[in-house]
Symmetry: C3
Subunit: 480 residues, 3 copies
Amino acid sequence: MGNCIVPYCDGPQNTNVRFTLPAVCFVWQCAMIILFGVFVRYDEESDAHWVEHNITDIENDYYFRYPSFQDVHVMIFVGFGFLMTFMKRYGFGAVGFNFLIGAFGLQWALLMQGWFSFLDKDGFIKIGIENIINADFCVAGCLIAYGAVLGKVSPVQVMVLTLFGITLFAVDEFIIIKVLHARDSGGSMVIHAFGGYYGLAISWVLYRPNLKESSQRNGSVYHSDLFAMIGTLFLWMFWPSFNSAISDHGDGQHRAAINTYLSLAATVLTTFAISSLFQKHGKLDMVHIQNSTLAGGVAVGTAAEFMLMPYGSLIVGFFCGIISVLGYIYVSPYLEKKLKIQDTCGIHNLHAVPGVIGGFVGAITAAAATESVYGAKGLINTFDFVDSYRNRTPAVQGGYQAAATCVAVCIGIGGGIFVGLILRMPIWGSVADDNCFEDEVYWEVPGEEVPVPPVLEYNNHMATNKNVDVMESRFTVEQS
Amino acid sequence: MGNCIVPYCDGPQNTNVRFTLPAVCFVWQCAMIILFGVFVRYDEESDAHWVEHNITDIENDYYFRYPSFQDVHVMIFVGFGFLMTFMKRYGFGAVGFNFLIGAFGLQWALLMQGWFSFLDKDGFIKIGIENIINADFCVAGCLIAYGAVLGKVSPVQVMVLTLFGITLFAVDEFIIIKVLHARDSGGSMVIHAFGGYYGLAISWVLYRPNLKESSQRNGSVYHSDLFAMIGTLFLWMFWPSFNSAISDHGDGQHRAAINTYLSLAATVLTTFAISSLFQKHGKLDMVHIQNSTLAGGVAVGTAAEFMLMPYGSLIVGFFCGIISVLGYIYVSPYLEKKLKIQDTCGIHNLHAVPGVIGGFVGAITAAAATESVYGAKGLINTFDFVDSYRNRTPAVQGGYQAAATCVAVCIGIGGGIFVGLILRMPIWGSVADDNCFEDEVYWEVPGEEVPVPPVLEYNNHMATNKNVDVMESRFTVEQS
Amino acid sequence: MGNCIVPYCDGPQNTNVRFTLPAVCFVWQCAMIILFGVFVRYDEESDAHWVEHNITDIENDYYFRYPSFQDVHVMIFVGFGFLMTFMKRYGFGAVGFNFLIGAFGLQWALLMQGWFSFLDKDGFIKIGIENIINADFCVAGCLIAYGAVLGKVSPVQVMVLTLFGITLFAVDEFIIIKVLHARDSGGSMVIHAFGGYYGLAISWVLYRPNLKESSQRNGSVYHSDLFAMIGTLFLWMFWPSFNSAISDHGDGQHRAAINTYLSLAATVLTTFAISSLFQKHGKLDMVHIQNSTLAGGVAVGTAAEFMLMPYGSLIVGFFCGIISVLGYIYVSPYLEKKLKIQDTCGIHNLHAVPGVIGGFVGAITAAAATESVYGAKGLINTFDFVDSYRNRTPAVQGGYQAAATCVAVCIGIGGGIFVGLILRMPIWGSVADDNCFEDEVYWEVPGEEVPVPPVLEYNNHMATNKNVDVMESRFTVEQS
């Protein structure tokens, strides 16, 4: 983007966000309160009038979806948040800005998704458990994009990325789900393909030619890799909830969970295999274990609620593990060197490509659906062939699913370039090239001094304390 | 408490708890077994006779509340436990003594709450899923109080704090829920206001004038702040389950979860805003992010099951984030300097004040309830206006809610002073002022030596190992 | 096993698993796909035909068991995984190979358990939510065994251990559940006694006389102990879900959760008591807190769904805490010195012995069952005295339960010796005695260098940065 029309100050910006960040947070939060006051109400299952319906309490949608919701919530805030703590000096920014994106994003998502997809005939957005799951999903798209620019943007830029990301997501989702009537319960297309390409496009526009000046911080230390594994595992474990959270009640949710469970298991084995095979000495690389093991969950998102069959899920997971690790080894360096896309977390290999694969797996599975496999009622139930879609055939549905994948990618890339240009403006407190991946820019970071050893007067005089020596030696050296 | 009637040995006590801690644990656990043998039985839904009832299995209360129970359980043991690991040298004490409080407290709570609120007509306490959630809630009150004295008390003192804390909680809860017939499903009053002032009062009585001698350990290191974020996030994510766990089936639980979800989201934004605004250079402070982001969950506890409306939840969260961060910046130092209250975790800003706010938000929301908003049946259902409370009006209910808040604060302060005086007795193995916030006093702490590097004879001779250099240099210095 | 018939190369083997590990992963994953294609289908509740059944969606078994499943899933991958991260230099191997075992094991378990216990009359294994919980349980057996050999085996050996472990588990389970018609919902016998003795027997065969050469790495550092507490707490918190996950709907699950909750609470108190009592200066030992606090969950596994009564659960937990800590203090060193069993994680004290205790507690509780306590229908319902077991009495059932415990131990020991001999073959890339407990053998481990401090050109020139000094001093020393 060398000849970009938007002026871009390559020199160091003022990274002091003391006024911009509070201003953005306050103004946007106040806007949320006003808009919620005007537009948002409880839906009939969370409203106090609900007791007048003559159905049993347990049939409230809450009980079908609440356990999945909480799992999804964990994925968004602990899963994504800790997955990104792998860097030695960017743990606060990873988990903290992830928190900020999530908290703002879910409010804006309730509004945007409400206006596009859930607006009641009386002009209100009526929210219930399914809406808050959808809001979390919407946030996931932005967190994926954040992964590409992790460590290179200011918290204000992060808020802007989220504002536009949620908006684009709602459009993307409206076209795919409402217009094309595609099915995407796990969001391979809507969430992962969109979020992946959105982030990559932003990263391309924000290309930093001198990022290598921060390369010494762009790596992990032993314990930061373990923190990241907390994120990986919570994502991996709860992915069956993610893909089944908004599936149809009954067999739909049941099947989506099983398919995701199996796909992810297969991915782990091929990830370990390829990681070992392509490293000198056959040693495993934590980058692959932390990321590629999740690709199977992404890729089975669309098809998880279909009759993909258990072996079908394993096949999807099998190939995604391979493709994702090879992406980290070969494609990411190529993207950085040739296409000028600096992708901090490798979302290309974890979300973008597996998301597209997932879209096409969904298209093929839908196109191959038959009444003998699904049953006549099951086919209608699974693909929602009702009302104006009464006459749609599985083959046609497959075509729409494939089209939906392309829509997600296009909106992601187009939106990302647009938002990237906005983020290039030199007013957002962005960090200099040699200070990327560093928490000290935006956080009060505690010193790392060795704690002064305890003086245990009463009953521990004899305890040898090795810390004393280490600490004293350090200070001795410093003084000399 | 300079002229306190209880003698207080300011000199170093014997911190060896080798006999007192085992004695307390054994005796109390044996007492629990005997009392459970005499008093505690399964309720009808967890008893094997249940199969004789002619209702479907899914209508067992277990399925309405079990997912929330497990989330609450995570909040108690991982949430509170890890939130307190922020100190560089008190991680074991934080998560370990939290574990001990929880495990003892829940047993004692089942008994105390049973005697006060759940005693059957045949003299037995019949327990089911709701009782074990309530027991976890009761423990939360004590863990909040533990936050105020974290690092300054011995494990035996912690057990005494819990024994009395649970007892006081049961009284507090009985008066508020049974006598005043106030509603408090998320426990703003019963749990947070009580627990907060209980802890602050204890901390006031146990004031340590020379605590600054331990100030070098009263801070975080980089990774301890990340451990604390695990606690923060699990509390934040599962708070909707906390506030909805014992709400009414159906719309009550549904609404409580949504309101809490929204309130917490708004709190995050104002916390980030104020944290940045009041720091030099606009840098964010992890203390605020770890704690104040949770204030919205506390403050919406009472009103979560009411028709607070989505925008109402956002407003509550909005102001609590601001108040809580300002509390950390201005009020906590004032409390320590002027009121002699040393509040290690800042529970004043996270629990005490937001709890009181929550009580009054609940009172106002209740007083403002109308049949048009709730529906005639919904109003009765939500506020439980049945039997002897058949004629209570929303306005009267609001008055009782406000009174309940005052009750919680009074029992907290009064009980805290009483328990604080007991804890001042020089028999509990309390730590000296210059050894606070230090795990080595009560724990076997591993040395921090750099591991000896591997000698990889077979196929890794060429691998450069930077640890070798670091370690050798250290030992060299030590020997010189 | 000094005179073992299998040749054992005591010298250093080639630890490069670059070909063996990928080969094993690929071939076995391909085998899984083929076998799943031939044998595995959805059961009727997860199949799209399910909509044709005329029952409400909420009665799908999915809603009875899904929350428990997700909790069990967390126990397997985060609980076991992080519990084993206590060692200073084996965190990657702990959590990473745990991940690999789990992902492979659950696939193989679905097949093996399917063939033995769930084969349909049309030759298919029809899977649903209960099968995937069972698969996770099966994996738990292998992870327990992995705990005994942690740090001493290669990833290829780990895969072999899992392949045979799952197979033996399926046999063990078939004999205990199907042949003996014993009840074991929480798996004290099937999972813990089997897994514990399986691992101990393998460790005995793989005895390393020179393991002390790695002793400097066989210990914890401060933060590794905190990581391990994440594992401990998730195991402890979710154990009620583990023991109730496949219990009977309704009161069975409800009671199993309550009993487990109580037993675990009692264990914590006696663990703290004994840990303090038997240490010099009364200091608590993290090894005990991390492990022995869980023994009560193991030991109540079989009896949790019976009418053990709340005080009965407390008694079980009370004694298991004592026995487990004493095991760590006295029995583990004895096992290592006299019986040549090197048990890295102390599974003898956490799984093997508590599992056997649990088996006999189950036998006694079953034998003592009466119609007055259970009700006539409740007795039949709880012990499944139907069909050919219609005339079995509680006393007879107790005998079968006791026999089942012995079966589990025998299969564990016998199978472990057999698999241990296979693992001794010098083809698996096992690590040398002086390189045990070291991640660098099989993982790319990041260097531990202090990060280069940020150069904050714009607005932070004045910030003092202590890291600079530390780092410079290190390099200074190195150069001198």
